[in-house]
């Protein structure tokens, strides 16, 4: 083995992020590392590269015990990392980037001729013939990535860590990248490939390590691990808590359509999504990480524009330019990342809750404080928000209570469609069930809910139908009757001959 990490544990502020995780990679092999958000992939990688220190466990690299103190040390030791957004100096030339910080020198001056020559030579081994004097910003994402890889090769890297390397590439560029990876493997360089697009993993990796909840749950040859099995390992948890929360009405007549996306697409993240949101239903939106769920939600909400397909709201063609346009139609979005684009941390609960409603609380430009108080008190009570007072800053609340305030932010506007993106993320189990129950009762009252979730049990418990996305495409719409763990897993793994192996055969 080139790399062997054993029994690695790491806690942050007492909360374990890794529990006895392990990872082994042989020279010349590509190892896939997969897992949901929070499974511990990036913590494991950061411990390997020296960005974090491990609490316990051993790391052997190249036959020696190692403990890299910083990313620079691990780089010197032969481990290179290619990040999603590549860390190159965009305005410097290709040659300069390849030799950044270890420029060849003659008599104390930069030896530009040698730099150019060396850069050309190394790029040639990847069949890349470009002008190495141009700034890297002039090239496509794929070429920039190649430059970053070339840079690591000239540093004699023996292990290359690639974190979602294909996320910003189109299909043609992926093929080029995979060619490069094959060249590297032939030279004995090991690859750690972190990714979510299963087809790509099967196309380029020999083995796979699956992580869940900070543990390594499976290591297997790629060929011996069917997709279904792989997805099940990633998502599996003790199904509990919400087993029996299913819709009150079992099978009624089809409910009227409220909102409909038809072959909608935007960039590379959302390619072709059909989606129907019905009145009085919870529509689920499922898919693996990176399948385009949140991006689809943002299009529906007018936060991103679409360049393909069409969107209809209550039968009317719509092209929202701003979230404000969607809000005017009665759409609300509770986003995935509460901290980044949900709460206004320093503002009070009262103000956070009424932010979307504010224009309607206006009396000659002035906020009608009495009505505001009344509404806030009502929703604090109705949703059971636990707080000292409505004037407490929202940042002081727990995750679950913050989420309730954000739900109330839309509920007080009396919306027609509520989009909730991972509504129970980072929330304790009791609050989870409460929020799901709340969504259920709102839907029963006629609200249309679109619920994005990575948790199968949540979808199974709450959704009336689930649309499954894979790689930016809607691949299945499962009605209540066809919803089961197996059917969801099958759709998410997307066993469909059409899109199999976009980048050639398994090498």
């Amino acid at each position: 083995m080139l790399l062997s990490m054993q029994n690695i544990s790491k806690s942050f502020a007492g909360i374990p992020a890794l529990r006895e995780a392990s990872l082994e990679i042989a020279p010349g092999e590509a190892m896939a590392l997969v897992g949901q958000n929070g499974a511990g992939k990036s913590t494991l990688v950061k411990i390997l590269t020296g960005a974090y220190t491990r609490d316990s466990g051993t790391i052997r690299f190249g036959g020696r015990d190692v403990a890299f103190g910083s990313p620079a040390e691990s780089q010197a030791g032969g481990i290179a990392t290619i990040y999603q957004e590549i860390n190159l100096a965009p305005q410097r030339s290709v040659a300069e980037n390849i030799y950044l910080s270890r420029e060849p020198r003659r008599f104390g001056f930069l030896d530009r001729a040698a730099m150019r020559e060396g850069a050309r030579k190394v790029l040639k081994t990847f069949n890349l013939d470009i002008d190495v004097d141009l700034p890297v910003a002039r090239f496509s994402a794929a070429t920039r990535q190649m430059v970053a890889i070339a840079r690591s090769v000239t540093q004699n890297a023996r292990l290359l860590i690639m974190d979602e390397p294909t996320s910003s590439l189109d299909e043609r560029e992926v093929v080029v990248l995979f060619e490069t990876i094959r060249t590297l493997k032939k030279r004995g360089v090991a690859i750690l490939f972190i990714g979510h697009r299963l087809d790509e993993l099967y196309a380029i990796c020999e083995r796979v390590t699956i992580m869940r909840d900070g543990q390594t749950v499976a290591v297997s040859d790629m060929a011996a691990m069917p997709k279904m099995e792989l997805v099940r390992h990633m998502l599996d948890r003790e199904l509990a808590a919400f087993q029996a929360m299913a819709s009150s009405k079992v099978e009624g007549p089809e409910k009227p359509v409220r909102m409909e996306a038809d072959a909608i697409g935007s960039g590379v993240r959302v390619r072709d999504v059909d989606l129907t949101i019905r009145q009085g239903e919870i529509s689920g939106l499922a898919g693996l990480l990176g399948s385009g769920r949140s991006e689809t939600a943002r299009i529906l909400f007018g936060d991103d524009r679409f360049d393909k397909g069409s969107l209809r709201f209550e039968g009317q063609e719509r092209r929202y330019r701003e979230p404000a346009d969607a809000i005017a139609d009665g759409i609300g979005l509770v986003s995935e990342d509460r901290k980044v684009d949900g709460i206004i941390p320093d503002m009070s609960i009262r103000e956070n809750m009424t932010l979307a409603l504010l224009p309607r609380l206006r009396k000659a430009g002035i906020v009608d404080r009495a009505r505001q108080e009344e509404i806030v008190r009502h929703f604090i009570k109705a949703l059971g928000v636990k707080c000292a007072s409505p004037d407490q800053p929202i940042k002081e609340l727990s995750g679950g209570n913050q989420q309730k305030v954000l739900l109330a932010r839309w509920l007080c506007t009396d919306p027609k469609v509520l989009i909730v993106d991972e509504p129970t993320r980072g929330i304790d189990i009791g609050a989870k069930a409460e929020i799901l129950k709340l969504l259920r009762s709102l839907a029963d009252e006629g609200l249309s809910v679109l619920m994005i979730s990575s948790e199968l049990e949540e979808l199974l418990a709450a959704a009336d139908r689930v649309t499954v996305l894979s790689d930016g495409r809607s691949v299945a719409e499962l009605p209540r009757a066809a919803l089961s763990e197996a059917s969801l897993l099958a759709a998410m793994a997307h066993q469909d001959a059409e899109h199999q192996n976009p980048a050639g055969n398994v090498s």
Binding site: T53, G69, F301, D303, E322, P323, A324, I327, A328, L333, S335, V340, D341, G342, I343, I344, P345, D346, M347, E351, L355, A356, L358, P359, L361, R362, G365, I366, V367, R369, R409
Partner: protein, 332 residues
């Protein structure tokens, strides 16, 4: 290495509470301390004349700093205020002296009070336009008029000093209502309006929301662009008003000098007053107090024979202290 790193946050939290106290009441304490110091150390401090001098000198700073507070609350900054003062100050005398167009004297004064402020507001809109439409960083966008604005003022006046005596126009600086200087009344009115705007109105709360978390604000349907345009327009118009007061007080308008360095005084007042420079907070009372503190420091040093140059250093020290306290306290 990690051991020492993990122990430091605990040590820091222990010393937080006095910092939070300082961040909340520090400006007011500094204000009181300066007054007490002067009562004992400066001759004739407790006199109407001293009060008058200080109030009239601080009025333009307060007015500009309030506009600045709104801009900073959205996470922006406005460097152009001093130059906009110069432009307003250059145009007004030309209007009431009939240099631009022949005009009836009474109407002339009225127009001289309105048109320069409108123009300054439009230039503020231009700042906002650069910030919102081209997504230029506010510090760079407003640098444009910071540099060009004073040039424009000089071109308008051919670089000449305009001297005038026009009691009707100069009423805004020299006049008194019930014994209180009009400029002080203007200052208080602007502060009161801004206070109500921030506390009571929809746009006021939207300003704070945009500065507190712009992404979240956009996702709740707040018209972020319009909110930003609004604060830059207000900042520009208030700078225009301050420019008029300054030239009325001096009976002269010099495009080189009107509002010179005002942007720094205004930013300093906001910083000392306790509004975070990163946005999301607008402490109007703090800004007023901050301007008073800066004014009193200058006055104290001058009255006690310390040269103006040294006063600048003290001012800088104050800003550093204020920002330091704010940052530490907000991490608590």
């Amino acid at each position: 290495m990690t051991v020492s790193a993990s122990s430091s946050p605990g040590a820091a939290t222990a010393s937080m509470s006095p910092l939070v106290f300082l961040s909340r009441y520090g400006t007011f304490l500094a204000f009181l301390a300066l007054i007490l110091f002067n009562v004992f150390m400066t001759r004739n401090f407790l006199s109407w004349q001293t009060l008058n001098v200080n109030l009239t000198q601080v009025a333009p700073i307060v007015i500009v700093a309030i506009g600045m507070t709104l801009v900073i609350a959205t996470g922006g900054i406005d460097l152009s205020v001093g130059s906009l003062m110069a432009i307003a100050g250059a145009i007004a005398p030309m209007i009431f002296m009939g240099k631009l167009f022949p005009v009836d004297p009474v109407l002339g004064v009225a127009l001289a009070l309105v048109i320069p402020i409108l123009i300054a507001g439009m230039l503020g809109w231009f700042n906002g336009f650069l910030v919102t439409n081209f997504r230029i960083q506010p510090i760079v966008a407003t640098l444009v008029l910071f540099i060009a604005g004073r040039g424009i003022a000089q071109v308008i006046t051919n670089g000449n000093l305009q001297v005038f005596k026009n009691p009707e126009f100069q009423f805004i600086a020299m006049g008194r209502i019930g014994g209180i200087p009009v400029q002080v009344i203007l200052m208080l009115a602007v502060a009161a309006l801004a206070f109500a705007l921030i506390r009571q109105t929809v746009i006021g709360r939207q300003i704070i929301a945009v500065g507190g978390n712009e992404k979240a604000a956009r996702l709740t349907g707040i018209p972020v662009r319009r909110v930003k345009l609004f604060v830059y327009i207000v900042s520009g118009a208030l700078a225009g008003l301050a420019g008029l007061i300054v030239i009325a007080r001096n009976s002269a308008s010099d495009a080189n000098l009107v509002g010179f360095g005002m942007e720094l005084d205004a930013i300093a007042a906001v910083a000392v007053g306790g509004s975070l420079l990163t946005g999301g907070r607008a402490n109007i009372i703090g800004t007023v107090l901050g301007a008073f503190v800066i004014q009193l420091v200058r006055y104290t040093l001058l009255a006690n024979g310390v040269p103006d140059a040294a006063a600048l250093v003290v001012k800088a020290g104050l800003i550093v202290a204020a920002v330091f306290i704010q940052q530490r306290a907000s991490k608590a």
